[in-house]
Symmetry: C2
Subunit: 292 residues, 2 copies
DNA sequence: AGGCTGTGATACCCGACGGGTATCACAGGG
DNA sequence: CCCTGTGATACCCGTCGGGTATCACAGCCT
């Protein structure tokens, strides 16, 4: 009946992410009282309590967590509508490709070279994002296509084209005893008391419990490894951003990682088709062996 | 930068569907001038012309077609956010299943029986929709799960579980010469001058060119067959809604149709899992053979 | 030709509501 | 115990979305 407005969703997402009306208001460039009022009104309209207001701070209710997830999707869809409409008539616009910073270096180079070699192809513009953000870039129309990784990324709602598959390595501080081993197993790296696995924020921004440090960027992580605070298990090709203080050791029983080209399901365009074509050429080329 | 509001999208969709400001305004329960102004403002904000205004009538531009498609998706996502949030805390709510009216009769009966037989399962509520509308019911949160058909329905963005596969039949007016044949081929039915294939509206509401009549509901279609105006090729189980004036003849080389249970990718709930479980029991049972 | 009809655009007014400032109520903590 | 920091409340104001009346113009009938 009465539809929500994107303004209300934006406001709620800000509060749900900050868990603080003041900071959320600041982020939204408005003052705090109208924000309080807007959220109250949203709760009244939905007939559901979204936030537990404690005297000092705010917590999400179950319904609040549902709305946070759904609102992000909805806002992405609205943003995508605007972006794709603005660019609808620009046929020469570049194809925007998004990928995790630091991942699949060499493969990306090959893909770009292969795409550039094909004539009458739109230029490809590369955007780098934080870990796990590719899906949101695609959903919100900020990117047309992404490099993602199976099985670590959630590929629901996307069409994909496999590019290459590789094993994983453990990234360790160079002084650590395990760094001297020629190879490791998941059992070896899973429970190293002095190098607990780092914890990434969940979708709602909270962190799971555990002994490891909290991180949200790859460079943080790299530095923590160099400082002997944690270890990583990552695809072999990610050694590209390995620090001098890091040592990479193969983990022989870790699941293989497949790098895939992904785009929103059902979104076809000539430029995308051309890139997928170029990708097919790269597909069976091992990343370490450049075509002569 | 400046986000669109759902109100603007709703207004644009109404105009784009009606291709008439007056009727669109009526549908939106507002008067025509504010609607004209809102659309102009939307065009100005996007920096793109969405409509070609002719002195009598309106036509979509390329950008307008893009926005129509994207806006529907975005509005569905916003509506879904509201619905799913309202129902987030209602664990005993029924699971809503949507399916095309008239399709997969017997299969649906079995599925419901099978689901009801399992204890501690949420009740299943059945909603019937027009042809091809299932995806929008799922995307907008009006339904949790759907019966859809591969390869005719677009399953992009959904997880699916196959239920059963069947051949297709041609539905003909009983007096027609072809109705006497024991079986037919696609070549037989593809070019029958006096029974041209009916035309369905595209996503943007326009109809493809061709000799056949324009239809948008199944009952229209059924009546047109009975009136000897067109013919249909449909899954064998759809004979359930066959009229006395219809004759069904197998089309031996038509692609097989698989009925699948579909739900939004990544949306897991205990109730849905229970239904998928029940569906697995139905899967290998031929539709015509009820379990004793 | 000339009025008629029906289209979307324009002009103008008004009330609702989103936003601001000032302030309150209240829980912790030095 | 006052100070700090939280979200809620009270109140004002300007913007803007909505309404009515009207215009401009292209077909179409007599």
């Amino acid at each position: 009946m009465d539809d929500l407005e994107t303004r209300e969703l934006r406001y709620f997402v800000a509060v749900a992410e900050e868990l603080h009306f003041g900071r959320a208001a600041q982020r939204l460039q408005i003052s705090q009282p109208p924000l309080s009022r807007a959220i109250r009104q949203l709760e009244r309209r939905l007939g559901v309590q979204l936030l537990d207001r404690d005297r000092r701070g705010v917590a999400l209710t179950g319904a609040g967590r549902v709305l946070l997830r759904e609102a992000r999707v909805a806002l992405d869809a609205v943003a995508a509508a605007a972006r794709r409409t603005r660019r609808a008539e620009d046929f020469q616009r570049p194809l925007v490709l998004v990928t995790k910073a630091g991942a699949s270096h060499e493969l990306l180079r090959q893909l770009l070279a292969s795409s550039a070699a094909v004539t009458d192809t739109a230029p490809v513009e590369v955007v780098l994002c934080e870990v796990g953000e590719q899906a949101r870039f695609l959903r919100s129309g900020r990117a047309d296509v992404a490099l993602m990784h199976r099985p670590v990324d959630d590929l629901a709602g996307f069409d994909t084209e496999d590019l290459c598959t590789e094993g994983q390595v453990a990234l360790l501080p160079s002084g650590h005893p395990l760094a001297a081993r020629p190879q490791l197993t998941l059992a070896d790296v899973g429970n190293v008391p002095d190098l607990p696995i780092a914890r990434w924020p969940r979708l709602d921004g909270s962190y799971p419990d555990g002994p490891g440090p909290e991180v949200h960027t790859q460079s943080q992580l790299a530095q923590l490894v160099a400082l002997s605070k944690t270890l990583l298990v990552i695809p072999a090709s990610s050694r590209a951003w390995q620090w001098p203080d890091h040592v990479a050791v193969p983990v022989i029983d870790a699941p293989e990682i497949t790098t895939v080209l992904a785009w929103p399901a059902g979104h076809h365009s000539p430029a995308l088709a051309a890139l997928a074509q170029a990708a097919a050429g790269v597909r069976n080329t091992p990343p370490a062996a450049p075509t002569p």
